[in-house]
Symmetry: C2
Subunit: 329 residues, 2 copies
């Protein structure tokens, strides 16, 4: 599956999602903040899993979902991340390759197990994530293959990866290689709490190294510590060449310099919001790397996000290419 | 979760399902017979998995699904089966207990891995099963706890388990203990090819030991090697006290002596037929062990089957109790 060139290379935590239904009371009792991603250690993951309802296991991981979406659209996608040589690791590798994504990162054969994210799905279609990072955080800068980065039009980094011990070094190396090869760097802020943990470092990295920034409204406001969306958008547009800001049912805004392209959200029966941002990025980056205007790329993101929230799980099911052809022509 | 008495104890293969979409061409190319269950060895399972699309992992196993359905209805259910102490084994144990089923069978800690069933879902909502039995076939007659059987109103055996080396001995022991304790034995024929493999033994066991027989039309015709459904139904009604025969969209027939209760199928948007028979058995057995008439028990089975085929996966999602209250009062 290794190719000579890629539209998009993504780097992030390699995670298997364990999805289960939960009540609001279940979240409240455990002090879990709805809609957020929380890091848990192995013991806490085990205790939460024991208390959770029956689950469904689906390969996940934010940047991995984005790569899967790009491949589903017919793009050439690659992913860098770490699993262990255990059963869930095998599941992860199978699924990402079966989706057509190139994945050649070495497995670890000792140490922590493959990462898992316990996803609690409440009746309002919100999801609350509890991530045991396991093997995924043993990824290091020497796993970032410079040839792969040089072969990809865009290298996309997930903010979550900054939590890994070698996360900051991975980001820096990826950005250095991409710049040296004349390639672009994209980054997602991932989660408002992730922004809280790393605000200063994110600000530095974004201003110095990011070409395309993806964030939702809460994340970008948290990044710049401002109350208004418009102000946050202006700050982002000043820091990066293209800022892609998503606002749930209010749609999204693609900013370049002084331009603001308003993209409406697609109407959809909301089932599970998991992966909405990941797949928006797939659609946008597929369009962006195939010569679409920023506005059209935004609509492609919006269509992919609508597909993913119409069913459980963060990997696409419908034919995304056909959906885009149908809706955008 | 261990209780003093149970409505239903089920015994069968403990399996994690790996569900993936597949085209008719994918099946044809591999000579797979749509709708059937085929046993595969580890190498074949690996090769098929490598060729399959991205998957979703959900706990399964026919008799285990039936126990999960009884628990979902509010009944007291227990399951006997074998997993290994691996990650998929953990998933199986978590899911069945989280559904409220008592499961205390010992894990194996060496030998084959936890069983998996590669489920190919074609666009017509049919599923083609490829089962690697792994650890599940190391179940033996000394795993059949006589106290548990004596504590259960009905012990339900899946025909698939006859493929295990100790399967026939497990069936005989379960039946002997149940008879000795004045309890009833139910059995499902599982699959027409399973009937083919074990026809003579099934005929003997059913005539001598089964009180309630579950089968679909193809299975019961295969059992008696007759072409007509009515003739097969008469033969079954002669062999067992109650024969519960399902006919897909034609509904089902519950036979006792000369009585034939015709049960209509519930209208439903068919998504995935996996588990239809398993959940029909849940509904029927829940009703049967709670004093419902055979006709009402049949309708309960029909409602549960309709729920399970309206979504992917063979464990219930909707509130089955509420569905029955709504539709039957």
């Amino acid at each position: 599956m290794k190719k000579k060139s890629y539209d998009v290379l993504t780097i992030g935590n390699a995670i298997v999602d364990v999805l289960a239904e939960a009540s609001d009371g279940f979240l409240d009792k455990r002090g879990l903040i709805k809609g957020a991603m929380r890091l848990v250690d192995e013991d806490e993951a085990d205790a939460l899993y024991a208390a959770m309802g029956p689950g469904i296991e689906v390969s996940g991981g934010s940047a991995a979902n984005t790569a899967a979406g790009v491949a589903a659209l017919g793009g050439d996608a690659a992913f860098i991340g770490r699993v262990r040589d255990d059963e869930l690791g095998e599941v992860f590798i199978h699924d990402i390759r079966a989706q057509g994504v190139s994945f050649e990162s070495a497995c670890s054969n000792d140490g922590p197990l493959t990462a898992r994210c316990l996803v609690l799905m409440t009746p309002d279609a919100q999801r609350t994530l509890n991530t045991y990072l396991g093997a995924s955080v043993t990824l290091a800068e020497n796993d970032v293959d410079p040839d792969l980065i040089a072969a990809a039009k865009v290298t996309y980094l997930e903010g979550y990866l900054w939590d890994a011990p070698r996360g900051p070094a991975i980001f820096r190396r990826a950005a250095d290689v991409a710049k040296g090869a004349g390639r672009e760097v994209a980054m997602t802020l991932s989660d408002p709490f992730c922004v809280d943990r790393h605000r200063a470092a994110f600000n530095d990295f974004i201003a110095s190294s990011v070409d395309i920034l993806f964030a939702n409204e809460d994340e970008v406001k948290s990044l710049y510590e401002v109350a208004g969306f418009d102000e946050a958008a202006d700050r982002a547009a000043n820091d990066v060449r293209v800022a892609v800001l998503t606002r749930s049912e209010k749609g999204s805004v693609v900013c370049r310099g002084g331009d603001r392209h308003q993209i409406s959200a697609r109407p959809v029966k909301l089932v599970d919001t998991t992966g909405a941002g990941d797949l928006y990025a797939s659609g946008f980056l597929y369009g962006y790397t195939h010569g679409a205007s920023l506005e059209r790329a935004g609509h492609m993101g919006s269509i992919c996000a609508a597909e993913i929230i119409s069913h459980v799980g963060a990997r696409p099911r419908a034919d995304l290419k056909a959906l885009i052809a149908e809706q955008l022509g």
